[in-house]
Symmetry: C2
Subunit: 725 residues, 2 copies
């Protein structure tokens, strides 16, 4: 029997001084939220109010609650799924537990320690910060605390602390199930699951099929399931899950019972077709590492996005917060979410939802963009935390791969294959879940991160838009790429003071919400005003900024997702940066505004992720009057379902007129194979419009696509040329 | 007290039938050698006699010896450092031990099992062969047996079996030292060694400095040594070693004593200067993995070679066999040997010699050019074997890096970063020796293997010699590159029948000794007759073949070693393929003929590995009359010792005349920094000679270098051009 406690919390400046006074605490939650409520702090989401929370993370915070002895002589346990970050637990003033790390469950038996009523205290230490680090994410580089909370280009600096996951008192029978774990191995041909049951007491195990029928019953430590219904990801089959129950029988009665879910699947990373040809030349290096996902023996093109914290406060993560977001991923035809290592590992309900909806999870450890050290204390904490994470997440069939963390082998992190934290993570993943792939970081050799804007003003690719750049890139996986857009006027109204809303300016509120100075101090990311002015002229209204920015985001994302899919089989993964956001932003690369509001680009990506559709490869975004328009037609297909051939009409709509260019009769697509179609060519007229659209219209309307491109009449082209001279 | 046994050995066709008769066995050794001696088989090194040994590896072999009880009531142990490969041990017919794997020590207490005289038997199973594999190295791909024994392009097929390392009976006191292990960690600034002593009994520990003075004495499990004398590799300092003794005192007497050596050093793989700049372009991949060796905080350019089995029969490896070879490496200015994973892990004496002579060891596990499987049985054997290997080799300061095996991430192997054997090896190296770097295979990203001939006839680089190709390659490490040469007429006389010696032909003897059909069935590797004819004309005598082939080997190796050194700091390693050979070859890439006979190329490489010398970069090997000769001058320096500047005269010697081209006054080289000098340019005359030499002559003669190049008079050039049209 679980009992939630009535918690209060107070703060103090040092460890030895108790708080002056206590406030009501919400558990799970965060000390900052309780403090804000108690002291009537203004809403952190508005303007630059978030800065008022600065420094709260440097206090000691003490939670208090009263625990009562069981009235019917049951054993009493304190259980917490997560306390953030370093803490001590005291009972009636006596230390009973100390821990560093928010991802390792706490379970303490209090039975013989409590009086009829005892005071339970949890003393939360100040947030970990490397002493000599600047005030940024590098403060987190000696801890397992999510680095994103220290500030990121789309996340304010606000470092939550406190009890962040389910925490309760449990009264248990004298005998209860101490340990009951289920693992399995699938035979090479997937026709049999050998289930291994781990337990210490005499338990009665039952396994029920997805339809609820009892499949097997045993008191033994193993059983085999013939022809198990496998777990498939979205678009490839049903996410079948079996139910397992373990019953502890004492004196003929069920003294305790444990329910578990299990999904049988085999996930591998394999080398793509043709991947062994390179390298050719002597001296010869290695071939690319594998990044093609094979699920249950079937190559799956991984379509999805980078999942970030759905809230600044991890303590507010809940099934209610997760569910619409995971559902939107499923509805967007996605099959994978990369849970980015800058944020925290999610709560159980996230993984349960991913299991249920067939969303594969790329599970990353909490390391990102920092040089995590070969330091014995850090390695000890990482060892315990990572083992806790692996043991919890490996139970979920959706956990198809492990990753050490984000961008650790790049210039801004400077970790390497020799870094002990990554070698430790590889070791722990092997020990605890060796049949699930592990990569040390993203990107690895052959994979790419970026672009993050529609067009760069500097560097080797300056002046080329993303449609154009993607024509020549050849990577095995695009595991981050971003296209920013401004948020809608309705959202701006919720976060920017009224007198600043008309036009984005470098005020504190716009900067705080990532419109400016996000990526670089000088930059105008993520609002990209300079780029919008280059493309669409000066003196735009905010509504125009929103609409034009959204247009670029839509076409940019379509270009990358569809280009990645055309590069199959060498390329096997497309994950945009990023899926969601932790609060309302003024501008961001996300497809979805906080908490779960799809942007126009969400629907564009949804279309580009359809299993089968007519697509075209367009070499650039801006076209001039009189120019020869060219685009390759494709049928993109990553489905293994039976398909039929059909026809696609290509229509260019410009200046209100529809020009039918050609009809392409395409054959029946083979499973998970694209079809290359003809190249459309058409001399663009000189008309006084600013855009045109290419429509691919099929007899099967579900295959239709449209691409909206920018047009420059002759007069504008001349002006631009004159300006450039 | 150790007692060797009198062994005999016999063979049988199946496990249940005992041998008909027994022969004298040499231990350590190999069953094939005993059999050959007993049955008067001809010398396997001559002609194609080695083929007569085919099939011997498919028998069961039984060793027998008599063990006597201790006369003075001591405990009796059977100890073997290595039995090859799968075996059972029986005492008076009763199974007392079974094992698969030749690298895990056997120690069995027999005290309570033996009678006054007992029969000890070791039943050796047939060599492991994957049942469905072709008759080549892939037969070894499910075992930890060295793949090279199954046949390689420079190693005959002959798969040794039997007791291959020290094996004896040891009579011990009732109490003896069960376990005494020494490990250490160095402080970040290298000023302190924290020594950890592992033991179970009460031991008195003493540590003696390299000069023999007692440094510390303790009964505790740790001690610190301030300012330890560090172990340095050849060319960088002294290979300082401390001596550790552990004494077990029983009743005031030393009941047992153990002596150990320990060398304090810190070895790291770091990213070279400038290595973080790449990649630049979006989408952005990772930076190159680190391969620059840093020893005791000092970047060391790794100069050396690939060490292969010094004998076909591992059982014959001995200090006497190793010593001249390791000494030659030291004398060649080398500081590292890559112990290639196709061959076996070496015996202790090899590693002791490397410790003493400052030769760093790149230690590879026994995996090479095969797809070792994710198979539970194989993983279990590899786990035990690799743990044994790591625990033995980690004690040696010379062991500066671990490597999973050879060329596993290439087309001919098809293992990947996800392969469980490699993930297991990474895990074990972390667990047992985490401060020593681990790479999964060679080559990894950025590193290169090859070339292996002076010029290729096919592929993208066809028609370009190795001097030319190396002008444009940019790799972080050249960890294999080979230049073959024919063996001397004296060696040919030892291995090729008299009537075949005059000119190499595709007879069985020449093929067996790798002159032909080595690399490919059709190829003329390693004698390279076609290439020699192209360069030096038809109708060469064998003496000319030897001399011309040696010339190419010398200049080819010089070009690669010196080019790699010029590519510093991006490149930090040059290891030629291969150093030595397991038997006398007719032609091979080795620098040293079996057992330890330096070839001319040994001396060329010795010169190219000097710490400091005048070098030049020559863009090709063959020059024509009237052509403008060009070569860059360099001072190559990888020493940290104080240097002085000086001058280099450049002289071209052609047709018996010396032409002085220039004098370059070079400044004082900075530690471990090269100096770029001027480009020599000189119009070549038309003279009727076939070669010319460029001499770099310094005031300090130890810096001098010469390069011998091929020359074509105008007449020859015309003929060649005419032929090519």
């Amino acid at each position: 029997m679980k009992r939630n406690l009535e918690w209060k919390v107070g703060r103090s400046s040092n460890k030895s001084t108790p708080p002056d006074c206590f406030y009501t605490a919400t558990v799970p939650g965060a000390v900052q939220l309780d403090w804000a409520k108690a002291t009537n702090m203004p809403d952190y989401t508005f303007g630059d109010n978030v800065k008022l929370y600065d420094g709260l993370e440097d206090f000691y915070w003490t939670y208090q609650a009263t625990v009562k002895k069981s009235e019917d002589n049951k054993r009493c346990f304190f259980v917490s799924e997560g306390i953030d970050y370093e803490f001590e637990i005291l009972l009636d003033g006596k230390l009973i537990h100390a821990q560093e790390g928010m991802f390792s469950r706490v379970e303490l038996e209090l039975t013989d320690k409590i009086k009829s009523e005892s005071l339970l205290e949890i003393l939360i230490f100040p947030a970990p910060k490397r002493a000599d680090a600047p005030v940024d994410r590098s403060q987190a580089d000696h801890s397992c605390k999510p680095a994103v909370s220290y500030g990121w280009d789309w996340h304010p600096r606000l470092i939550p602390l406190g009890i962040w996951d389910e925490t309760y008192i449990e009264y248990r029978n004298a005998e209860f199930i101490q340990n009951a774990d289920v693992t399995y191995t699938l035979s090479e041909d997937l026709s049999r699951a050998d289930v291994k049951l781990e337990f210490e007491q005499d338990l009665l195990w039952k396994i029920f099929a997805p339809d609820g029928k009892l499949v097997a019953e045993t008191r033994d430590n193993k059983l085999a399931i013939e022809n198990p219904l496998l777990w498939y990801c979205n678009g490839q089959g049903e996410p079948n899950m079996y139910t397992v129950t373990a019953e502890l029988i004492v004196d003929g009665e069920v003294a305790d019972c444990k329910h578990m879910k299990i999904g049988f699947r085999r996930a591998r990373l394999i080398v793509h077709d043709g991947g062994w040809v390179e390298p050719v030349q002597f001296p010869k290096s290695r071939s690319n590492p594998p990044i093609t996902l094979e699920l249950n023996g079937r190559v799956v093109f991984a379509k999805g996005a980078n999942w970030v914290s759905p809230d600044i406060f991890y303590g507010r993560f809940s099934k209610e917060m997760y569910e619409p977001l995971v559902k939107l991923a499923k509805d967007a035809n996605m099959n994978i979410l990369r849970v980015w290592g800058g944020g925290p590992v999610n709560k159980e309900s996230f993984h349960e939802l991913c299991d249920e909806m067939g969303i594969m999870v790329w599970a990353e450890f909490p390391l990102a963009c920092n040089k995590y050290p070969d330091d014995e204390h850090y390695l000890d904490v990482l060892d315990v935390e990572s083992r806790s994470i692996i043991k919890r997440l490996r139970k979920h069939p959706s956990t198809v791969m492990w990753c050490g963390g984000n961008e650790l082998f790049n210039n801004w992190s400077k970790m390497t294959d020799q870094s002990l934290p990554l070698r430790l993570l590889g070791k722990n993943c092997y020990e605890l879940d060796k049949h699930t792939p592990f990569i040390p970081t993203s990107p690895i050799m052959g994979m790419g991160h970026g672009n993050y804007v529609f067009e760069y003003f500097e560097g080797a690719d300056a002046g080329r838009d993303v449609l154009n750049i993607m024509q020549e890139r050849k990577m095995t996986a695009y595991t981050e790429f971003g296209m920013p857009s401004p948020s809608s006027p309705e959202i701006i109204a919720q976060i920017i003071p009224e007198n600043e809303r008309e036009y984005p300016s470098r005020t504190s509120a716009w900067i705080t919400h990532h419109a400016f100075s996000a990526w670089t101090k000088e930059g105008d990311c993520w609002i990209c005003l300079e780029l919008l002015e280059k493309y669409f002229g000066k003196n735009l209204t905010y509504k125009q900024i929103y609409e034009c920015g959204s247009w670029l985001q839509c076409e940019g994302y379509k270009a990358i997702f569809e280009s990645a899919r055309r590069q199959k089989p060498m390329c096997s993964m497309a994950l945009n940066w990023c899926y969601n956001e932790p609060w309302l932003t003024a501008a961001n690369n996300s497809l979805i505004n906080y908490p779960a509001l799809p942007k126009p680009s969400y629907y564009a990506v949804q279309a580009s992720c359809r299993p089968v559709f007519a697509s075209c490869s367009i070499p650039k975004f801006t076209w001039n009057a009189g120019e020869l328009f060219e685009a390759e037609l494709w049928i993109l297909n990553d489905s293994y379902d039976n398909q039929t051939g059909g026809s696609v009409n290509v229509v260019i709509e410009i200046n209100g007129e529809r020009h039918q260019l050609l009809t392409w009769d395409f054959p029946t697509p083979e499973p998970n194979k694209n079809i290359e179609g003809p190249v459309v060519r058409w001399r663009l007229p000189d008309v006084d419009v600013k855009e045109f659209t290419i429509h691919l219209e099929s007899n099967d309307k579900s295959l239709n696509s449209s691409y909206r491109l920018k047009f420059q009449p002759a007069e504008v082209v001349e002006e631009t040329n004159a300006m450039n001279v």
